[in-house]
Symmetry: C2
Subunit: 314 residues, 2 copies
């Protein structure tokens, strides 16, 4: 009799795991540092260690399955392609390794896709068959639910929503291409814009809010009334809104959810986003889309991995 689901979130810094019941209620959790530099084989060993730990008090045959989310493009067989925060990963299947070790059904997915799945099943996307989830932090990623299911593309590489050109010939993105949304509105992009404006002599109190300039310190300065900081968020929100307009025209979601660390800036970001969407859609029929904060916070990836097992998608 199945009673438990295991969800694992393999990040560049932490490997986190959760055990839930079949309704997604968390009953145990655990984490380990990833030590990404030690390479794929060593990280894989730590993934198995943490799964072992979270399974300690249960019978293996009570486990419905094990889901794992990982950064970077990942195919249906659980092979990660050049994960950006996991150097020397190697060429092996996450799900095969987990199955070999625990003999339970294993499922893997891209972390941003799984986050969309998690919000859809357990968070702010419940009951919405067509939605887009966008996460804004170091990079900009996302996941797409279309007709109630994850839109994976031909091999599982879809939903790279941060890598759309908005400004042909614009600033270079982390992926090497010019003018992508990620290069215009990610956390590091907002911080880079702040530094450039400060170096150019714009007066601002941003530097009072932390030794290092980050989107978080800029948000604090903006809330304290700093004009430059407010302007920087308005600009980021404008580009995020433009990117959403593209996605709205292409996918026509009923709802858009925005998560990730930068989204914690709240109205500083959501107001210009909503205003831009309102002004830039091609027809009023697209204005009905709901733009809301994601609900699951830091656990979104874990809950997405749990949702993956429950929806039994490989």
């Amino acid at each position: 009799m199945h009673r438990w689901v295991i969800g694992v979130d393999l990040g560049g810094t932490l490997i986190r795991a959760v055990r839930t019941d079949l309704g997604g209620e968390k009953v145990a959790r655990s984490q380990l540092p990833t030590e990404a530099k030690s390479g794929g084989e060593a990280v894989m060993e730590r993934v198995n260690t943490i799964i072992e730990e979270i399974l300690r008090e249960v019978e293996l045959d009570e486990v419905l399955g094990i889901g794992i989310g990982a950064p970077g493009p990942i195919d249906a067989d659980g092979r990660i392609y050049n994960p950006p925060n996991l150097p020397d990963w190697g060429d092996f299947s996450l799900t095969e390794r987990i199955f070999d070790r625990f003999k339970r059904p294993a499922f893997a997915g891209n972390d941003a896709n799984l986050a969309a799945l998690g919000e859809h099943r357990f968070g702010a996307g419940q009951g919405v068959d067509d939605m887009v989830y966008m996460t804004i932090s170091t990079g900009i990623g996302g996941g797409i639910i279309s007709g109630g299911s994850l839109l994976l593309g031909a091999r599982g590489y879809a939903a790279e929503v941060g890598h759309q050109t908005l400004v042909a010939g614009g600033p270079i993105c982390g992926c090497g291409q010019p003018g992508h949304l990620e290069a215009l509105a990610s956390g590091p992009s907002i911080a880079r814009n702040a530094k450039e404006r400060l170096e150019a002599g714009t007066s601002s109190i941003i530097s009072d809010y932390g030794e290092e300039i980050t989107s978080k310190s800029i948000a604090e300065a903006a809330r304290a009334g700093d004009k430059l900081a407010q302007e920087l968020f308005a600009q980021a929100g404008f580009y995020i809104g433009l990117g959403l307009v593209n996605l709205i025209h292409i996918l026509e979601p009923k709802r858009v959810l925005i998560g990730g660390g930068v989204s914690l800036a709240g109205d500083l970001l959501f107001e210009p986003i909503r205003e831009t969407v309102d002004q830039q859609v091609m027809s009023p029929i697209y204005r009905e889309v709901e733009i809301l904060p994601a609900a699951l916070g830091a656990d979104v990836g874990l809950m997405g991995a749990v949702a993956l097992v429950l929806s039994d998608r490989g």
Copy 2:
């Protein structure tokens, strides 16, 4: 016993209809001028007239269903929202009107979506579960097949692939918004760019190829070696390629099909498109996408309407 399918293509200039067997083989066709200016009710009457005509020699109960494609956003109930080439359309359901008249199952869809469905079932997209169809003519539209089905969005307004911002603040699109792909690479946009360059004094033989400058006359001049004409197609192909890169990152199709009048320029357009996709994707894994001409030509909408009936989507 069902033997026939009726497909109707309601265009701004012509209403066309076809009768096929259940395998999509055409056995009869007919057409009438739309006379769009006469308004929605009069056009609807002509739609029914042509369906009547194409049904003349068959028994109504031998007809599996009637499919119709129409321009502009159209919802699941067959209501067209402000169709661009059908003024004074009014607010009624195409499918209801057809059902009321013929008492056979009726299905309606956006013409570009149906074109994608037609290519998927009968044309260059056969056997491909994840594909994007893009049509480049007066405007730029399209349809998306995801996981084997048409991606419709929440209300059927998805796949407006020509209305993605590529150049924030760029030239104004027919929809009124700046910098969309359609404003950079549609037939009229290419012609407008030609006129601007000619007025600015660029030497060219484009004007020798017809009284009016169109994408067709520019293509002829390009084939005759005209540098400006070649440059204009290279530029349009670059932007189409950029737009496809966005779609490839978002949807990860296995194949992209390009149709519409401007696509008849062939390699003049496909070469810069393929080169741009090759150079601008964020990772080599996206380079495997196949970019091919659509196969069904002017009948694509008709065959899409037939495919809609056969796939029984309302």
